[in-house]
């Protein structure tokens, strides 16, 4: 138990890095997702095919490979990113691709009559999309996006593989110093489980708040 008392402060230190990663990449990922979904649904042929290619590439390859390309590959072109920034870029781009697919599904489930009705009321196309489609899309996609956010919390552990000392990284260091691999990784896993549970609770209450009866 005394070993745990020594390890916990360091694990919490790592956890703060993990939290920073999540807090930075979730909003960026959501913003990318919304933009790409709107581009794919309402953009012209060029925009929508670009969005399609982006989705196919980032959903078809492992996040770890994307992370390696950004961290080890980009310096070839003179773009040297710190491990922290590389992780955020990779996480945002990858989760943005998944978010965009959920948002697109939500857009497809909104009847086209709504857009026509908004246009008939004299709204411009952009205005109709932003004030009629967007709010409904966000509501409908929320459960799927919550899932994706929870996934991202778990996959943030990959940041350790580009040398960032996050929760997993601290766990690995402590495990090597103390040789108590099983206990340390069990505690690390439980801490992630705690993060995931809290995130789930928060997102559920957000879903309940955003719920419109009958919609």
């Amino acid at each position: 138990m005394s070993f745990l008392a020594g390890a916990l402060p360091r694990l919490f230190q790592g956890m703060s890095i993990t939290l920073q990663l999540i807090v930075c990449s979730v909003p960026i990922g959501l913003a990318i997702g919304i933009t790409v979904a709107l581009g794919r649904s309402y953009g012209g042929l060029l925009l929508s095919s670009l969005a399609w290619v982006y989705q196919a590439l980032f959903r078809g390859t492992p996040l770890l490979v994307q992370l390696f390309i950004i961290y080890y590959g980009l310096p070839r072109f003179g773009l040297v990113l710190s491990p922290f920034v590389s992780a955020i870029v990779a996480f945002s781009l990858c989760s943005g691709a998944y978010h965009s697919e959920y948002f697109r599904g939500a857009i497809l489930s909104i009847k086209s009559g709504q857009l026509e009705a908004a246009r008939a009321l004299g709204m411009g196309r952009l205005q109709a999309v932003l004030s009629i489609i967007l709010p409904q899309m966000l509501r409908k996609a929320l459960p799927a996006c919550s899932n994706e956010i929870v996934y991202l919390i778990k996959y943030s552990s990959l940041a350790y593989l580009v040398t960032l000392v996050d929760l997993t990284g601290q766990g690995r260091l402590i495990a090597y110093e103390t040789f108590r691999f099983f206990e340390v990784f069990l505690v690390v896993g439980l801490l992630y489980l705690g993060l995931v549970t809290i995130a789930n609770r928060l997102l559920r209450s957000l879903e309940n708040r955003a719920h419109v009866p009958g919609l």
Partner: protein, 231 residues
């Protein structure tokens, strides 16, 4: 490095990378297999189990879906490996960690499709004189497995991408072969993009296979009703 140099390097490293892709496919097949063999019973427990069984299944679910894949991998490889008398090969550790994890996710897929088959079928089978296990085995499960194919295609692409983590414990699969070549040639971008392209092909080929399987096992008129009742 010029374009032709890159192209040369890709052609020369392709055999090595494809050998790695073969290991990756072996990993996926065994992980999905373990997930299937354990996921189906777990789903049956989720749906038909007694209270205690359900409780145990729920804890299993929580742990294997709540821990990051990388932490599970470390837990199995370094954690179990550090216990005296237990020695796991890297391959076996990956199969256990990702396979047991996939079982938790797959059990949710099968649970959903078992529920989608509908209560009426169970009642009909029972009224024909079948026992409950018989009804599950002969009537519900075959239909549920068909409905779960789209979910399984998704699970395939998730497991495929997770097998890239295997390099962290030293399995020489696609990504780690790429890393070896990068260590020798320093051609980071060329090699990692090639690796990404191979993963992309594997993902969409696999999804295509599941789609064909779904089409092949489709029974006209069957899916529509299950979809209605699951809404």
């Amino acid at each position: 490095m010029s374009f032709t140099d890159s192209l040369n390097l890709i052609v020369r490293s392709l055999p090595t990378l494809l050998q790695g892709a073969y290991i990756t496919m072996a990993l996926i097949a065994t992980c999905l297999g373990v997930g299937f063999l354990l996921g189906v019973p777990l789903a049956l427990v989720h749906v038909y189990g007694t209270r205690w069984c359900k409780w145990v299944a729920a804890i299993y679910d929580r742990i294997f879906r709540g821990f990051p894949a990388l932490v599970l991998l470390f837990l199995f490889y370094f954690g179990l490996g550090s216990i005296e008398g237990v020695s796991l090969s890297p391959f076996l550790a990956v199969v256990l960690a990702l396979g047991l994890r996939s079982a938790a996710y797959q059990s949710q897929i099968y649970r959903g499709s078992l529920l989608a088959v509908g209560e009426g079928q169970m009642a009909a089978a029972r009224s024909l004189g079948m026992s409950k296990p018989q009804a599950i085995w002969l009537v519900l499960l075959p239909q549920a497995l068909h409905f779960s194919l789209p979910g399984l295609a998704n699970e395939y692409s998730i497991v495929l991408k997770d097998t890239a983590l295997a390099f962290a414990v030293g399995v020489v699969e696609l990504l780690s072969r790429g890393k070896f070549i990068v260590a020798r040639t320093y051609a980071t971008m060329t090699i990692y993009l090639t690796v990404a392209a191979i993963y992309l092909v594997l993902t969409y080929l696999g999804v295509l296979v599941f789609w064909v399987m779904e089409r092949r096992t489709r029974i006209p008129g069957l899916g529509d009703r299950a979809k209605e009742s699951s809404r």
